[in-house]
Symmetry: C2
């Protein structure tokens, strides 16, 4: 973990249930930024096809340090240093339950938005859990769960012409060091470290706000993210501290993520 805080990045990124638009978009952007990404699915053959199609489109785009993108089973994606769960809300339990052992101690990122759609637009689904991220944390008590990437739309992530330079990523979590790893990862997408939005329970409002963002984007015919004009664009991980929100340091950080 200390290597990440000193500026290192995880060697590999897994995207569980990554064949949907949001997962594909994140996988594509992270691969473009130089990461080694394993896009997972319950169906490894389907994942391989999706990854191949994405890479054909990604090409090498003039980068000498291009990352890689491969399609694998979810169990193999779960072996990566950092694991992003990109399942639909309804699929979270089924995807994560068989992987609890493998994911032990890892940084797991939830970008799950529990949203439904009807004629009037997006709305927050009724759920027993207060947020998808907290539900993931309850399913994976031995993991360091972080919420992030909710406000980067799939179409924005998948559009080769779209820049994420104006959009911010809000990162929330109860483990300061795990959050710092993910905040640093955000730099690969937007050119800025993610904004520390506080404790994991903030995911309740970050997730639901995605419905507002979808509504605005539909109304104005744009694909906008969210920005915070007064938050400094150049911000160090070190600008915030582990105890700012009563968060815990990583007690069980393991060699898997070193």
């Amino acid at each position: 973990v200390s290597a990440f805080l000193a500026g290192g990045l995880p060697q590999s990124l897994g995207v569980l249930s990554g064949t949907g638009p949001h997962g594909r978009g994140l996988a594509r952007r992270f691969a473009l930024a130089g990461h080694d990404v394993r896009l997972g699915s319950r169906d490894a053959v389907r994942a391989a096809m999706v990854a191949e199609r994405l890479m054909a489109r990604v090409g090498h785009v003039g980068r000498s340090t291009a990352g890689s993108l491969s399609g694998v089973g979810n169990d193999e994606a779960a072996q990566c240093d950092v694991v992003i769960i990109a399942a639909a809300w309804e699929g979270c339990d089924e995807v994560l339950s068989p992987l609890t052992g493998q994911l032990h101690g890892k940084v797991v990122v939830s970008c799950v938005n529990p949203l439904g759609f009807d004629a009037t637009g997006a709305h927050r689904l009724p759920t027993d859990a207060p947020s998808a991220a907290e539900h993931v944390a309850a399913l994976l008590p031995d993991c360091r769960v972080v919420g992030a990437f909710h406000h980067l739309s799939a179409s924005l992530l998948l559009d080769p012409a779209a820049s994420l330079a104006g959009s911010e990523v809000l990162v929330c979590g109860d483990r300061y060091e795990a959050k710092a790893i993910v905040r640093r990862l955000c730099h690969s997408l937007t050119g800025r470290v993610g904004i520390d939005a506080g404790r994991l329970e903030m995911a309740r409002h970050i997730e639901a706000f995605t419905a507002v963002l979808i509504s605005i984007n539909k109304q104005y015919g744009v694909q906008s993210g969210v920005a915070f004009p007064q938050v400094p664009a150049l911000r160090a991980i070190e600008a915030t501290g582990p105890m700012a929100f009563g968060e815990l340091p990583d007690l069980h950080s393991t060699s898997e993520s070193a």
Copy 2:
């Protein structure tokens, strides 16, 4: 109403329960922008004192078209063309119940954030109503209720050195024309018409997101609003239409607000 849509502004703005920080901040900014503002309180004497103090600070700041700011009882503030309810969540019922008759047919703006604070920061209060704005709409079925101004912090509004130029105001509501009036009012604060965020139920997520904004602002020591980089800064009211979200036109717009 048509006068507003053609570019006019309401002649007078009432701020119910306006002696708190958020109400004072909105009253101050609207008076500075040239509006005639009546800041209301259950205690008219207290309202007059608060208004006098605010105006002493506002001064004339070089404007030839300065508005006015007077402190009055809530019942008098409720007679204005547009009425903003700036009560704490707990006070909404008590403030609005005696005014239902007077407020009939009016545009009523809820900027109420049902938030509580503890050692870890702001959190959404448990409430029976899905949002404060929807609760206000249920209390005032004969009014055209709009949600707005949630993300402009009191300290930002009250700071003479602070500009709102980078911040956006999200406006939600089920009555398109009432929403258009409030969106136009936003121009007085930020220099841009408010962003149409969709139906009134979006207030659920807009209100709760204020907790995230408070968390971010505390963490970075700033007073930031929210912005949407891809939404055009120059946007006309006419860019959106009444049926975009299945909204209703104003069926009972009255001469009070003409």
